[in-house]
């Protein structure tokens, strides 16, 4: 008999949340609701990280994604859309074609994944403590990530500058005077 352990129950619970809200995110007719559903998905993901014992990842997920990106998205929604706005229905052809592609893709991927022979390992679990992560990030030895760390920091800088430049209102932009 299949007995469901507690772990499994928790896992399935969050899996259900992720899958259901993912689908709701991409099908909801109201944009603000979609953003909310996305938040749930992100939180579910964070839960996965916790389940998999990567506490730092989970925390990062919550702060950066749930706290940062979703808020950003909601801001932009408020800037560009009416809150109660509903999407026009999608054309049947497009919907069916997209759904078909997605389903076939999902099916194909699952087929491959389920047929693959992953070799489970018995190695001890990594010590994903914040200290270890920090050390690895700033280490330049083997398994050290200082170079990508620096690259990413530069990238972030570029992104910040880029975002400001792009979103800045053009000083001589007289075409859209009502765009305060």
């Amino acid at each position: 008999m299949m007995s469901i352990t507690f772990h499994q129950a928790v896992f399935y619970f969050f899996s259900a949340i992720i899958v259901i809200f993912s689908i709701l995110t991409v099908t909801s007719k109201r944009i603000l609701r979609a953003a909310t559903f996305l938040l749930f998905v992100l939180l579910g993901t964070a839960a996965f990280y916790f389940i998999l014992n990567y506490a730092f990842m989970g925390a990062l997920q919550i702060t950066l994604y749930a706290g940062g990106i979703v808020v950003l998205i909601i801001f932009s929604i408020l800037l560009t859309s009416h809150v109660g706005e509903r999407f026009e229905p999608i054309g049947w052809g497009k919907m069916i074609a997209s759904a078909l592609v997605s389903l076939i893709g999902a099916g194909f991927t699952l087929y491959v994944l389920l047929n693959a022979d992953f070799i489970p390992t018995q190695a001890p679990l990594p010590d994903a403590s914040v200290k270890n992560i920090g050390t690895a990030l700033l280490s330049y030895e083997r398994n050290g990530f200082v170079l990508p760390f620096e690259v990413v920091s530069l990238l972030l800088l570029a992104a910040i500058v880029g975002a400001i430049v792009i979103a800045r209102k053009e000083p001589h932009d007289t075409e859209n005077p009502n765009n305060e």
Partner: protein
């Protein structure tokens, strides 16, 4: 051998004259040009006379045969491994005789032109072209090889083109110059092919070895040829077509009457005395080959000559343009020379026709040049070309009248004048070998006398129209050449020509054939008498005659519609049915194919570019689908291996 090295001066000096004058054509005053040009040609004349004296009298025949000298020679171009083209001067009987003809007439025409062209804007240009022509013609006659002849053949052609089109603002002159060049060029194509064929089989261009009968054995003449002709016959006929083009033989004669659009001195020099006889000269140059290698080609020359002679004489009877009558007369006389060559054989007494033909060439040059210069003087005085608007001029232009009469008598074969002797020899030669040609030539002799005196009477006698300005004799510059040529027309007949010129180099002793002389004299007197009756006084006889033979008259008057046939062929067939379709074909089919390829490409890309819709989601859809397909293939591949 180098006794004649100085002969390079003969063509070179006029060339120098041409270059000097043409590079200063808008700088030199007319007087300077006249002096320079006449001086240069006079110098050439003196050198030619000296050459003739040295050749005929100082050297004379060696062992009874006149030798051939190469005066000056250099290799101009190498064609392949063993053929090369030389440029040089060949001194032999024919070339020395031609030197005399060309330089004499050229000198006379130069002097005459000083008066004739005096008021013309293109005075310097005219003299430059005359020099160019003299250079080309002299180089042609002294050519050491057949290729050199071809080269200068083309150059005299272009000088003729330039001089016919001298009044280039006159559309008729432009058309005439074009016609002259293209018709002769067409003939030259055959000439070239003939040279190619001959040189391929004989392996040399050089006249001395080419025409030496002793070499004939060694020529490789085997091989197939067209129309059942042997190789030499084909080659020589092709060369003759070239000569026929230049010498205006039927059916390539159509350019010569139109060429009268050029100034009269030009007609005298180029289209009467020198260039047009180049064809005769060419056949004469290769006479040994014609006579010994391909008698059938020579026979063709004879028949074509005789036919042309008759044909042109018939047309000449009906023409009313002063210079055109003379032009047809020229065609007819050249036909005479050709016929003379055609009935001749190689060597000895049998070679009478050759000698006679050269003799006639010589005398004809003198009196025909005189006729044209006289015509020029008349036209200069009355400002029209139509003999219907002339008459009674003997009272106003005494000297011109007398010289013209001498020339007319000479060409009509009046006993004692030059034309009588040379014509008599040709008729004799024809009588000895070919009765058909003989009768034709006899008829032509009568016709010649008739149309020449018709012309003479209509211009100098008959009714006198009303002249706006009283015509008068031209100035000294024009009269002196007339008088000199008139003297020459009388005297040249008494040269013992056979002593100097003969087919095989051995002096030929000729005597007057009395029986022939009587017959031909009778014939020409008949012609003269007829013309006297019809045209001396105004009468309606000519009109009645015309009415009684109206069809023949109309055909002859329209030159038997040969021009129209050519026009039809060129304009309606070649232009309309070949050239225009090709132009169309090129634009629409060939180029159309290229454009169609381009159109297909462009249209296809227009269709394809719909895919590039700018719709991000369509791209993404394609992207995802493609990723799926590719990964599916990959997996399939991995699973099966």
């Amino acid at each position: 051998m180098n006794a004649f090295e100085y002969t390079f001066l003969i063509p070179f000096v006029p060339l120098l004259g041409f270059l000097i004058i043409i590079f200063n054509f808008n700088r030199f005053p007319k007087k300077l040009t006249a002096v320079l040009a006449t001086g240069f040609i006079g110098f050439t004349f003196v050198v030619s006379i000296y050459t003739a004296w040295q050749y005929f009298f100082q050297m004379g025949p060696v062992n009874g045969v006149y030798p051939k000298f190469i005066g000056f020679d250099f290799e101009w171009l190498k064609l392949g491994d063993h053929l090369s083209v030389h440029m040089g001067t060949l001194i032999d009987q024919a070339s020395v005789m031609m030197l005399i003809v060309v330089t004499t007439v050229s000198l006379m025409v130069h002097i005459y032109s000083i008066g004739y062209m005096h008021d013309d804007r293109g005075f310097n240009r005219f003299f430059a072209f005359l020099q160019l022509f003299s250079f080309s013609m002299l180089s042609l006659v002294m050519a050491t090889n057949v290729f050199q002849i071809y080269i200068f053949w083309e150059l005299v052609g272009v000088s003729s083109f330039l001089l016919i089109g001298f009044y280039y603002e006159k559309p008729s002159a432009v058309a005439a110059s074009k016609k002259a060049f293209i018709v002769t060029r067409f003939a030259d194509l055959f000439f070239l092919l003939g040279i190619l064929l001959l040189s391929f089989h004989v392996g040399t261009f050089d006249f001395i070895s080419l025409t030496n009968p002793e070499n004939f054995e060694s020529f490789n003449l085997s091989g197939y040829a067209l129309f059942g002709l042997s190789i030499p016959a084909l080659a020589l006929i092709l060369i003759f077509i070239g000569g026929a083009g230049k010498s205006a033989m039927f059916p390539l004669h159509i350019w010569l009457p139109d060429a009268m659009e050029g100034p009269s001195p030009v007609s005298a020099l180029i289209h009467a005395a020198t260039m047009v006889v180049a064809g005769v000269y060419l056949v004469a140059r290769l006479f040994a080959n014609y006579a010994l290698m391909a008698p059938e080609a020579l026979a063709l020359v004879g028949y074509v000559g005789a036919f042309t002679s008759l044909f042109a004489a018939v047309i000449a009877v009906t023409q009313i343009d002063f210079k055109r009558v003379l032009a047809f007369s020229t065609i007819s006389q050249i036909g005479y020379m050709m016929a003379g060559l055609g009935v001749s054989h190689y060597g000895g007494e049998e070679g009478l026709g050759y000698m006679a033909s050269m003799f006639h060439l010589f005398t004809h040059a003198m009196f025909k040049a005189l006729l044209f210069l006289g015509a020029g003087a008349v036209i200069h005085a009355v400002h029209t070309n139509s003999i219907r608007e002339m008459g009674g001029l003997r009272k106003y232009m005494k000297t011109t009248h007398i010289t013209f009469l001498i020339a007319t008598l000479a060409i009509a074969g009046f006993p004692g004048l030059s034309g009588f002797f040379s014509k008599d020899e040709i008729i004799t030669a024809a009588y000895q070998s070919n009765p058909l040609v003989y009768y034709a030539l006899l008829v032509v002799a009568g016709l010649t006398a008739f149309y020449m005196f018709r012309l003479y009477f209509l211009v100098f006698w008959n009714t006198e129209p009303h002249y706006h300005l009283k015509p008068h004799d031209p100035g000294k510059a024009m009269l002196i050449p007339l008088i000199i040529l008139a003297l020459l027309s009388i005297l040249t007949g008494y040269i013992p020509f056979g002593q100097f010129i003969s087919s095989d180099g051995q002096p030929l002793h000729t005597h007057l054939h009395l029986d022939m002389a009587v017959i031909s004299t009778l014939v020409s007197f008949t012609g003269i008498a007829l013309a006297w009756m019809l045209y001396k006084k105004p009468s309606d006889m000519p009109q009645r005659l015309i009415a009684s033979a109206s069809t023949l008259y109309r055909w002859a008057y329209n030159k038997f519609y040969i021009d129209e046939v050519y026009l039809f062929v060129t304009r309606n067939i070649i232009f309309a049915y070949i050239s225009r379709p090709i132009a169309w074909f090129d634009r629409h089919i060939v180029d159309g194919t290229m454009n169609a390829i381009g159109w297909v490409t462009v249209t296809t890309s227009h269709k394809i570019k719909g895919l590039q819709s700018g719709q991000l989601q369509k791209y993404a859809f394609a992207f995802v689908s493609a990723v799926l397909v590719i990964s599916a293939l990959l997996v399939y591949y991995l699973l099966n291996n």
